[in-house]
Symmetry: C2
Subunit: 263 residues, 2 copies
């Protein structure tokens, strides 16, 4: 069922609301929805509702809430994951934005790293962020997320380190760690989490661009409390590693917890 995010903080049964703009275009022109059709909408409270289309005008669509959809398990990861990635060439960051959203990331943080092969020019950065936000929103709708991940402005390493919350779980996906055969840092870190806490700390993981990570930058991050971790014994490309990491994190926190993430 097609899903859209709406701006309302919450919705009530029987409430009539409007869809317009890009979502109207997608619903009516692309999906060719008709009156009577039921779609899924998610309000800012992260609750999903089934709503049926009442009327379609030239630029707006009126819907009515039929049902509050109960999730039988948490849709979102139990903690906020930020993927902090060096800038890669072409559409690699688009890929990370899209698949990172499917995989459950809360935030994409582009980073200006030493060995980045590509750089964002200052006058084009705003447009690039806008593009990534569009990709993230569409991916969040398609993967039925309950929140739209954030896309942050690009930061250099020092500024990034400065704004990472103290209590965050801080990791660096660094394959040199893999080479010495220590694959357990991620697992140890995740297994030490008390999943019964009201609010879990956020997890921030740094990934290099296709140029990789500079050892000086890794040491800077380590000095700020980041731990180098491996994503296994095979070398993963810059755009593969974040998605692979989310699969691992999902396995640790969602797929292998017997009933612990049921509401």
């Amino acid at each position: 069922m097609q899903q859209y995010f709406v701006d309302q903080a919450t919705l009530t049964l029987g409430q009539v609301f409007t869809i317009e703009g890009d979502d109207f275009h997608h619903l009516v022109k692309v999906m060719r929805a008709k009156p009577g059709q039921v779609i899924q909408v998610v309000a800012a409270n992260q609750v999903a509702y089934a709503a049926s289309i009442q009327t379609i005008d030239k630029a707006t669509c009126q819907l009515q809430v039929d049902q509050i959809l109960q999730d039988n398990c948490l849709i979102e990861l139990p903690l906020d994951v930020t993927l902090a990635c060096g800038i890669s060439k072409n559409d690699k960051l688009d890929w990370i934005a899209q698949k990172g959203t499917e995989g459950g990331m809360a935030c994409l943080q582009p980073l200006n790293l030493k060995r980045d092969v590509a750089k964002w020019q200052a006058n084009k950065a705003a447009k690039r962020i806008e593009r990534l936000e569009k990709i993230v929103k569409e991916a969040a709708q398609q993967s039925h997320r309950r929140q739209i991940p954030q896309v942050n402005d690009c930061l250099n390493l020092i500024d990034f380190i400065r704004q990472v919350p103290n209590q965050a779980i801080k990791l660096i996906a660094f394959e040199e760690t893999a080479k010495v055969g220590h694959h357990q840092v991620l697992a140890k870190t995740l297994s030490q989490l008390d999943l019964n806490q009201e609010v879990l700390p956020p997890l921030v993981m740094v990934f290099g661009s296709e140029g990789g990570l500079d050892i000086g930058e890794v040491e800077q991050l380590q000095a700020a409390g980041f731990k180098a971790c491996s994503l296994g014994p095979r070398i993963l490309r810059a755009e593969t590693a974040p998605i692979f990491a989310l699969g691992a994190i999902s396995y640790a926190l969602e797929l292998s917890k017997n009933g612990e993430n049921l509401l």
Copy 2:
């Protein structure tokens, strides 16, 4: 360090051997390697060697084995994973081939499924397989795999089911399973594996194309012993799911096993 696969069953210290063809082109024309440079080669025995370039001719390159490289842990997954995927449009299967190889798959099995949006014409199938094999080989080299994954000819569902080994672990990535909140099938299955066995059974996982899986086909697979499993509560695209699954499998069998996969 650049890696290439060689045809020799095994190599010995000091042995001189030749690289030619596509690998010669890549090594000499693309990487611009020079005499004295050291590269990594993997023989058919899945052992890696460091070899230095001796001479470069017009179409061949002579190298000498300097060192047998000891892996301090298994590079390959401890069991063979086959990704059996419906045919998606455009280059989605290319993505699965490449990232599946980085993630450690042993085999890519294209499937003709009911809801596939794309089909391979019989006269073009051979060329498509050839292309996927090229992608897989390059990815295996770049990710430093010890074996090149296989790419099988496309099969329809009945023929596929017929040739799956009896002892294989058989799974279907089916999001309807996720909707009822049962996320533990994959974890239960993997945790029941005795990792101390000499040879682990292969794991075969079926994925729909972007058209998804037909419920009749899921039932056919289930009748043949396949278990429907979830890859989490978020909907993953056809090309994301296999990579995400490999991240989960790697977490279960490599990243969270304390020292059990050390040689």
